[in-house]
């Protein structure tokens, strides 16, 4: 028996920390390989001739930057070479059980983009509009970004807000109606916030008070809002379009001086008030969540509601308040459709932006700043289609229209590593 007992003899005590080994994943090298092959096939299968011109400013700008012309195929091949190098590096790192650094991912993304764009714009008579691409990215990201902020606030408090889509659509509709009747975009905006909060209130009543499954309620709400607004649109708005569905839009307000900065100025600072509010909303939501009493309690309720309850925080009230604010934040995004983008409501005009916002929340790891960046990425993916059609790219526009969804799939599939949701997200709080 004594032969079978043993005590560690290498040292007197066992270390108090767990050993850590690097877990490597094949995700990066596999995706890199796939993308390199895609670009390689494009270049081989459909070689093009001529030059690609990138335009950085308009004639009317204060500073005019000359357009740049590049030999299209040569640049594309150089970019492909960079992609292949990055892919090999990534495989080597994987073989050595090391992780692919984020920098390599960024370099890869830019090289891919540059190669693809110079191939797409080859030989075109029109220039490739860089400024317009940036500006369109921001504009297309507005509803997604507000939606993602609202989603992040809701989930941080423990309520999964699948109904972002419904909130966007409802607030777009209400903004159109109120904005048209009053002829005042500000009244439309306020109405949109209320509409977003109202949809959130319904979500809250079912999920917080009656503890119905949050995903089901969210999906049902989306369908309900879609049906309701479509019905009202055909039955009421179309018959009285002049009175009920013709808003006065928010004007574009160029900010003095910074709107003249080359590239960035025209792209980012000749926008309407809602876009400027979006610039402010991101740091504001971040500050509110991480630096205020409201945010601390909200996060506590989303992570460990029982612990919050035992220190006297009213869990349900906190969740309701968070959800209403989240709904109003989403309302800004809805208002953008009918008060900035166009001046009339149209059936299902949000077209799934709310779901992409939901993806941005996950991609952004439930953090407002990261979620905002994710929303911008999705906006960029959508904007690329427009820019490519300007230069008459050979890629069918249907493929380009798929791009935001493909990007979403990749993003949510976890390209950015493991993310951790608030622990009590989606779980109703039941007090015994």
């Amino acid at each position: 028996m004594s032969a079978q007992t043993a005590v560690r003899s290498d040292d007197a005590s066992v270390s108090s920390t767990l050993r850590h080994v690097t877990v490597t994943s094949k995700k990066y090298p596999v995706v890199f390989t796939f993308m390199s092959v895609v670009l390689g096939l494009i270049l081989l299968a459909a070689p093009r001739e001529g030059e690609t011109k990138f335009r950085f400013s308009a004639e009317s700008d204060f500073f005019v930057i000359p357009s740049i012309s590049v030999p299209a195929m040569r640049v594309a091949w150089v970019c492909l070479a960079i992609l292949v190098l990055a892919t090999i590096t990534s495989w080597v790192l994987y073989a050595r059980e090391r992780r692919t650094p984020l920098v390599l991912g960024i370099v890869f993304a830019f090289a891919f983009l540059a190669g693809f764009l110079s191939w797409g714009g080859a030989g075109s008579v029109s220039d490739f509009p860089v400024v317009r691409l940036i500006s369109a990215s921001v504009l297309l990201a507005v509803p997604i970004l507000f939606g993602a902020l609202g989603g992040a606030i809701g989930e941080r408090a423990g309520v999964v807000n699948i109904a972002i889509e419904g909130q966007l659509l409802a607030s777009a509709f209400v903004a159109a109606v109120v904005g048209s009747i009053t002829k005042n975009p500000w009244a439309g905006l306020v109405a949109a916030l209320v509409a977003g909060a109202l949809v959130a209130l319904v979500l809250g009543a079912f999920t917080i008070t009656y503890r119905v499954n949050q995903v089901i309620v969210g999906v049902v709400l989306n369908v309900l809002v879609l049906g309701l607004t479509s019905f009202m649109y055909t039955q009421v708005l179309m018959k009285n379009a002049d009175q009920l569905n013709r808003t006065v839009r928010f004007p574009s307000l160029p900010i003095p001086l910074i709107s003249e900065v080359p590239i960035i100025g025209p792209a980012l600072f000749r926008q309407s008030i809602i876009v400027y509010l979006m610039y402010l909303a991101v740091p504001l939501v971040w500050f509110a969540l991480y630096r205020t009493r409201w945010g601390l309690r909200l996060r506590a309720v989303g992570e460990h509601p029982l612990a919050a309850d035992t220190v006297g925080i009213k869990v349900e009230r906190t969740r309701y308040r968070a959800l209403l604010i989240a709904g109003a934040v989403v309302g800004f995004g809805g208002a953008y459709y009918t008060l900035v983008s166009v001046s009339a409501f149209n059936r299902n005009m949000t077209a799934g932006a709310g779901f992409i916002a939901l993806a941005a929340v996950i991609f952004g790891k439930w953090d407002p700043v990261r979620a905002a960046l994710a929303a911008l990425l999705f906006g960029f993916a959508s904007a690329l289609e427009g820019a490519m059609s300007v230069v008459g790219s050979p890629v069918p526009s249907q493929f380009m229209l798929m791009l935001p969804y493909v990007v979403t799939l990749f993003a949510v599939a976890g390209l950015v590593g493991r993310s951790r949701a608030p622990a009590a997200s989606g779980i109703p709080y039941v007090k015994e």
Partner: protein
């Protein structure tokens, strides 16, 4: 502050969890509430803390009747609670957890983190706690997390402190330190309620002892009472505290685990280079404070997790990489740690649960259909043999008491032909009567020549059952020692300190 409970009664449906309980706690006194799991101690404290509403009775503070609508009221009145399952937000820092609910703010609801940090440091220094206010709670050892709970209560000027089963998750050393802290708080004038079912701790710190059984106070005991006296008061009859067993008679059967390593998705090595052998006819106890890799090790023995390295061989057959069904087919019996989650399907009947892992063929399934008569006969026999107290084999297993649920699991696992038996915390949350029975069955399995592994977090159980004791700490083996090893040595080993001069004798 003096705390008094008068005639507290709390019912859950037909169950009377608290039946007219009276309790008085004076300032500067440690009052122990002793009782088995399910005796109603925690319910009573949740009533006091405002989490439950009492059906009858009243709470008095300094002889004045108070009424708490929620924990917020209880705290404001000066009652602090150190919960059995810590009420801490794992991803928050210590300071954030301590200030939650009564946050110091600067204008506009902005958090005043400086003030919160200062408060933590001040209390921490007053009691010698050594707690970093900026540490993330989930990164801290359990013992330190508990101190955060205490700081949380003290930062709210609590004068009555309730400790609900505070030692369940602590190493013996941490337990001693906690006893020290409790004495210090007592000297500071706090009234302390200490809820536990561990007799040794009671005798060590209690000024007064109230024993609860089945929801009612059954008597007071003096701090000088013996273990046997306290136990019989707690259980209602005299109980055997030791397990009778003969010296092991080894058979040829053998489980060999070699260089086993289990890594979680984040790269943390949960089981690190673990090797041991268990022979047929002996019980190897895997001891250690919960969360040191025992769960993962046990799961690997049933193929529930796949190790990243190492081998598990049973009588020469390599098992790593096979499916759970193959593991079961090799004759491995497994009692999981959390029977409610992994051991039983609560809404299934006792009979269904008893054949849960035998649905692949005869005698219970023929041509794809259940053989109900065979099942019921088998179930009736098992209920009889394992003394499962149930209204019938058709009763949902989830409705049984903890001890009887565990007997269902045990009956299922032990009624197969076994070549290895693994039981994880087999008596957790089980009444003393059932503990005796379960221990006897485990010893009987060993005597039948089967290698047995018992994962235990309590030293009492480890010493009672084990022929050898393997102590794990942070995923590694601290040592494998005979069951005659003194308690204090085992205690130190559970904290990762290998005893000097005891190397592989």
């Amino acid at each position: 502050m003096k705390l008094e409970l008068r005639g507290i009664t709390k019912r859950f449906g037909a169950l009377v969890a608290n039946d007219h309980i009276d309790l008085v706690v004076q300032p500067g006194e440690i009052h122990c509430l002793l009782g088995e799991n399910g005796a109603g101690k925690s319910t009573l404290m949740n009533v006091l803390y405002g989490l439950y509403d009492a059906d009858e009775g009243e709470v008095l503070l300094d002889d004045e009747v108070v009424h708490f609508a929620g924990p917020g009221d209880a705290m404001a009145a000066g009652i602090g609670m150190v919960h059995q399952h810590f009420m801490l937000v794992p991803v928050f820092t210590v300071a954030e957890n301590v200030m939650l609910g009564h946050e110091p703010t600067r204008g506009g609801g902005r958090l005043d983190l400086e003030a919160a940090r200062a408060k933590v440091v001040e209390i921490s220094e007053r009691f010698g706690f050594h707690v970093d206010p900026d540490a993330i709670v989930e990164d801290l050892p359990v013992g330190v997390q508990q101190r955060v709970e205490i700081i949380k209560a003290l930062s709210r000027e609590a004068q009555v402190l309730i400790f609900d089963e505070p030692t369940a998750v602590l190493t013996p050393q941490e337990t001693d330190e906690l006893m020290g802290i409790m004495r210090q708080l007592k000297a500071d004038g706090a009234a302390i309620v200490f809820i536990t079912h561990k007799l040794r701790e009671v005798r060590e710190v209690a000024d007064r002892i109230t024993v609860v059984r089945r929801g009612a106070v059954v008597g007071e005991a003096k701090p000088g009472s013996s273990d046997a006296e306290l136990a019989s008061l707690m259980v209602g009859r005299s109980v055997e505290l030791t397990v009778a067993k003969d010296a092991p008679r080894y058979s040829d059967a053998k489980l060999e685990v070699k260089d086993l390593e289990i890594v979680d998705p984040d790269g943390l090595v949960l089981v690190d280079d673990v090797s041991f052998t268990v022979r047929g006819g002996e019980v190897l106890v895997v001891a250690g404070v919960q969360g040191n890799g025992q769960t993962e090790l046990a799961d690997a023995l049933l193929g529930l997790v796949t190790p990243s390295a190492g081998s598990i061989t049973l009588d020469g057959t390599e098992l790593v990489g096979r499916s759970v069904r193959d593991f079961l087919g090799q004759g491995i019996g497994f009692v999981p740690e959390d029977r409610g989650v992994d051991g039983l399907v609560g809404t299934f009947t006792v009979a269904e649960n008893l054949i849960l892992d035998r649905i692949y063929g005869p005698p219970f399934v023929k041509a794809g259909s259940l053989q109900l008569r065979a099942r019921d006969e088998f179930a009736r026999a098992a209920v009889e043999e394992f003394d499962i107290r149930t209204q019938g084999i058709d009763q949902p297993a989830g409705r049984l008491s903890g001890g009887n649920q565990q007997k269902v699991v045990l009956a299922r696992e032990l009624s197969r032909e076994l070549r290895l038996f693994v039981a994880c915390q087999p008596t957790r949350g089980v009444d003393v009567g059932s503990i005796e029975f379960i221990h006897k069955r485990i010893v009987a399995t060993r005597d039948a020549g089967v290698p047995v592994i018992v994962v235990a977090t309590e030293l009492d159980e480890a010493l009672a059952l084990g022929d050898r004791i393997l102590v794990m700490y942070r995923g590694r083996i601290v040592g494998i020692v005979p069951a005659t090893t003194p308690r204090d040595v085992l205690g130190l080993m559970m904290a990762g300190i290998a005893p000097e001069g005891s190397e592989a004798a």
